[in-house]
Symmetry: C2
Subunit: 454 residues, 2 copies
Amino acid sequence: MTEEEKARYFELLRFRSVGVDKTKQRDCVECATWLKTAFEDIGFSSSLRLPDGVSGPPCLYAERIVGPDAVTVLFYGHYDVQPPDPLGEWKSDPFEPVERDGRVYCRGAQDDKGQLFAFFCGMKRFLAASPDADINIKVLLEGQEESGGDIIWRVAEGMAKKLRADVLLVSDTNAVADLRPTIIAGLRGVCHFTVSLKGAKCDLHSGIYGGIAPNAAGAMARLLASLHNDDGSIAVDGFSNGIVPPSAREIELAEASSSGEAAIEADIGCRPCGGERGRSVVERNSFMPTIEVNGIHSGYGGPGSKTVIPCEALAKISMRLVPGQSPRGAFEAVCRHLESRVPEGLTLKIYEATGFSEGFRLPLDTPLFRLATEVLESMDSRGPAFLWEGASIPCVSMLSRVSGASPLLVGWGQPEDAIHSPNESFSIRQFDLASMWAERILGALAPEKKGINR
Amino acid sequence: MTEEEKARYFELLRFRSVGVDKTKQRDCVECATWLKTAFEDIGFSSSLRLPDGVSGPPCLYAERIVGPDAVTVLFYGHYDVQPPDPLGEWKSDPFEPVERDGRVYCRGAQDDKGQLFAFFCGMKRFLAASPDADINIKVLLEGQEESGGDIIWRVAEGMAKKLRADVLLVSDTNAVADLRPTIIAGLRGVCHFTVSLKGAKCDLHSGIYGGIAPNAAGAMARLLASLHNDDGSIAVDGFSNGIVPPSAREIELAEASSSGEAAIEADIGCRPCGGERGRSVVERNSFMPTIEVNGIHSGYGGPGSKTVIPCEALAKISMRLVPGQSPRGAFEAVCRHLESRVPEGLTLKIYEATGFSEGFRLPLDTPLFRLATEVLESMDSRGPAFLWEGASIPCVSMLSRVSGASPLLVGWGQPEDAIHSPNESFSIRQFDLASMWAERILGALAPEKKGINR
């Protein structure tokens, strides 16, 4: 990372581009505009895009077109970041980048501003060295990845022809332990939603009304508890319909890339014992769906006691989905499950349902994967690991479908980056690997022909 | 209520005497000092009392002693109030009394500042009319009733001899429907505590760690759900040990005083379907114990979604206890229940355990209850109803034991007062009945002999 790159990287990080936060929409627009200028400065034509009549974080589309017969890459990334709370746990301002011991701390330092800006820097270096390279480069960035909004869906559908490409490049994922280069061979899908329960007209005295009034907090606890069996498996009828199990080769490669339980425990600070008992960490994380409670809030939470029966309760739920599961079908199965269990006296509402992206796994033996493997071997003699990520990039399958491009996901995240958590960070070393990858994969693709993905 | 009484009542209500809130300790002391002066102004000697070396809301002890052979009453009340949150739901400032349609709205308007100040006004009127009345009046007020603190326990134990009395008068309870005068023949005990679960070192990404990291929010939901069976009965082994069932006559009188399900539904705004299926509202509220979740908080609760696996969760729990249950034994049963169910990877902590008061039921056929019945018949030709309250006044059994006095609990609360909730209120009519009761019961007791309770 040059000093100039660092200064620009810090500028990008300072935008408070929390896409989900209605009060940060202006920050999102300013962030997208900054990126637009950055791409124009290296010769792209560029525009911000929103569906007609929609407000929200805009998409940025940029392109550098050399001609109809050149190989075409489409690069996807997102400039929105997770909300910074809990604010009290940050050691420095979440939107003021600080460098300590070779790492840059800031919300978005890695996910995805850091990875996308590193890719941008590599692309800039490649184009500076090979200004006439025979490659079409298209870029589509969005501002709703963290919140599952549908703006990019609608923008992409509306410009499908413009997005046609051979390779969909994404840099928003992790490398395995010790930064061994990693190709993501699969991602889980995701769907998230909010659940509320309402009962009495106000919180009630737990003595006067105890044994009489339905308790929304207790009822929410029972509803959420009913989603899983005692062994951690999912208890929702119909949720797992259609799941395509992984092949023996996929399981073998995934297990080979795993950092192991001890490393995960050191990373997260407790035993990695989530999910279904009797299955390996890799199975549970890469090949099984999940239903997670992202939050639950009801009644009193301050010091000491307040003896009330809460009249309402709120829960945030996300699901990770695997190939074969229909996002809509899985969501509807959970809705049916919850609706059929609403206790007397309480009213259930399910809303803010977003995401609805499918999980996917890519075939391993393709010319594109072989080319990527060569590039990654040139960066690290160990060559790439293959990883089936537990995380989701909701629009990768959509963009792949719309553009006709084959996804190639190589990212440089590490667990210690603490993305989505307080004190998110990205190391200079990771940044440099990410920009080197961008420079070399573009260099390797330029001599190829249109249709390398076929 | 005279204009002067109202002005003084409003002064008392303005103190922000939230006993549980460490930042409101000064308000509590100022409130207690105001009450001390009020009692001194009507001829009592009076002092604020705290156990040695303890800080917190002080007790106020006041006495008017005429001689060793006179009948002695001990009046108990509390000047602390519940926290005012959720603040957004108040129609006017929670600590600025406002009169609308014959009701005074303010935190503490009823519970217990309103009831205790009405009693004070009746007492003042009685003493003004009968300055030489042959009755010893002792008053002990506390500032930790709502938070279950132990200051009054330690103060009372330390002045047991001074507190000797025949009758323990308390005005902190409800009358049945339509303000028919009501004698509380029983109260439930109470115990409350906080439960926390901790797992990973920080909130984690629900994709990257989904299926791996234990989810503190989901685990807390499962823990809380395990406290009850599907039929709403309590599932905690040993919790119900020793319960003494009510007699047929107690059930009959309690059912006769019940306002009925339809009235309760109109009052609380939803079906009164809490507690154990297959038992009547009266049974569930008066004669059965409860375990209620007063609050649960974990993870994200803002707009949209934040796809985290929460690393910690907090729950507030209160239990209502019936005669025969040991508060300590019931608490320990719940601790054992929770401790034996802590999921792998998470750490349970149980703390802030307070209350530990027993439930009680009083014998119905005593000279004191006959006298009180006559007084209440003079106020309302229907005579008193007998009620076994679901609520608790944690120190009534303790004060009865320490003072040797028989409890006589006659209060004037109504469901629409919304105590513990936003927009708490007390009507002028209730206030006037409460002060009339004080005036008349003191007038009826004064001619009696010491030992009326034997």
